[in-house]
């Protein structure tokens, strides 16, 4: 069997394994349930035309789904859920394997640690991208009844649709990058909670502190770069310049470093205990 074929098989196996995790399934079910709830709320709040007219942005008006140039389209809400969900699921897929001892079983079937880790990382990225994109579609689709029955599709020309699809693609991409980051951090720490605490502490404490104390360093922060990539426009009201392509390159470079550290750590680690 060729190395590429084996890698492909291993990646599929890793995806099947991840999709079997109860946490991953629950996160997807929860996301779909929230989509349903949002659909009902959007429908109910759009029944009164005067109330709808008063709102600056409302999901019943399709053009509110995505506002090019850095506006707060409702898709941003989905992005937040997806990023958090990707971090939790990515870390849990690896952490649970070390906790349950199935890492030993996995290595008995695939002794090449590099291949196993690469397949695991790839599967996390692919799954997060596909699920993320699908959930974005579900999220927006939940507002569709309100749009068709009470709202409008004004302003949704071809350029808007292109911008929407590209934004969905970027959000799915960020979801995939976060999942890979979580897998890598959990591989280093061999623990779900430790990985999540590390990620949360970095994003919510350390980066915020740095941004507050040294605003000019903000352009190096993960959150700032994500906030630049998703709308694909430079952030306003900040002390630095960061074109979106540079922000995306920086994110990929940071991730490459963390993935390399995780790979080295996994390759050299003794697997003891079940």
């Amino acid at each position: 069997m060729s190395a590429a074929k084996r890698f492909a098989r291993l990646t599929i196996v890793e995806m099947r394994r991840a999709l079997h995790r109860r946490l991953v399934r629950w996160m997807i079910v929860l996301a779909l349930a929230l989509c349903g709830v949002m659909g009902v709320i959007v429908y109910l709040t759009s029944r009164d035309p005067s109330q709808l007219a008063r709102a600056d942005e409302h999901p019943a008006r399709m053009s509110s789904w995505w506002i090019s140039g850095g506006g707060d389209g409702i898709l941003t809400i989905a992005a937040l859920y997806l990023v958090v969900g990707a971090a939790i699921c990515g870390a849990s897929v690896v952490g649970a394997e070390w906790r349950a001892g199935t890492i030993t079983t996995a290595l008995i079937w695939e002794p090449s640690r590099l291949r196993l880790h690469a397949a695991r990382t790839a599967s996390a990225g692919i799954l997060a991208f596909v699920i993320g994109f699908a959930l974005e579609v579900a999220f927006l689709a939940s507002a569709l009844p309100a749009v068709l029955l009470n709202g409008s599709t004004d302003g949704t020309d071809r350029a808007w649709w292109t911008a929407l699809v590209l934004a969905m693609f970027r959000i799915a991409l960020i979801t995939a990058l976060v999942a890979v980051l979580a897998v890598s951090v959990a591989t280093i720490g061999r623990n779900t909670s430790a990985a999540l605490v590390t990620l949360a502490a970095w994003a919510l404490v350390i980066e915020r502190l740095i941004a507050a104390l040294r605003p000019q360093l903000g352009r190096f922060m993960i959150s700032e770069n994500v906030a630049t990539v998703v709308p694909w426009t430079q952030m306003t009201d900040v002390d630095f310049e960061r074109p979106p392509i540079v922000a995306l390159t920086a994110l990929v470079a940071y991730l490459a470093v963390v993935v390399a550290v995780a790979t080295a750590s996994f390759a050299g680690r003794d697997v003891v205990g079940t």
Binding site: R22, A100, T102, T104, D270
Partner: protein
Amino acid sequence: MTAVIEVEGLRKEYRRWRGTPTVAIHGLDLTVPEGGVFGFLGPNGSGKTTTIRCLLGLVAATAGRAAVLGRPTPADLPTVMRQIGAIVETPAMFPTMTARENLELFGAIDGIGPRRVEASLAAVGLADRADEKVHKYSLGMRQRLGLAGALLKDPALLVLDEPVNGLDPAGIREIRELLRRLGAEGRTVFLSSHLLSEVEQTCDQVAIIDRGRLLLSGRVDDVLSAASRPSLLVGLDDPVAGADALRRAGLDVEPTGTLLRVALAPSQAAHVTKLLADVGLYVTELRPDTVSLEELFLDITGREEVAA
């Protein structure tokens, strides 16, 4: 005979942040020939599981050399792993999947299809419960599933660390017969177990290690006969009178429990019965004084407990 496992001067130290490293394997030499069932014995902490982990590339040896199926490990392990089935300690499977799903999942890595999965499940007696989630399985059933996973590749070498843990007596017997059958088919079963009577009944060859060093290795029969004393155990209603009679005939006699140990080759048993019958004493029991693997194990490891 070709060796399927060769270990030379294997050493494993577990380093600590502070303090001296723990030496789990201390220059182990071991050769496991092809075919049959090879028992790997040792007390708790003797280095059995660490040796197995080194062989399977799960831990990196600090020094020494190991080869499996003729290829150096861990470097060439990806090449030969297709021919190795293994379970290490309690086999861990994915608890939210059924037994069948677990095997199909792992089998998919090597392109193993459902027919082979069915055969493996049937071989370990799990066919009827293959569609239950693994988290509902008892320890014994998990062991069986681990064994099914090891058999899935139709391997030339099976490395089994305590495979009968948690099994009931009937299950132990079933697995013993399965392992014997696998060994008789020409496969090599490398079996680590603390159930010495099991090893004695199942294995063709045995190695005993302690503190990470090899103490003894060879065919079970040879090892036991070498350790046995050339003597007979004699049971009598009046052992004191019997001992006197035998001593008068110039034999070396030593009471052991309710029996007398007579320093005479088992082939000379008729001589003993005649001597005793001549003085009106009749034997109630007469057998060669053999050494069990358990006695040998305790003797050479210098441990009182039979443990692994």
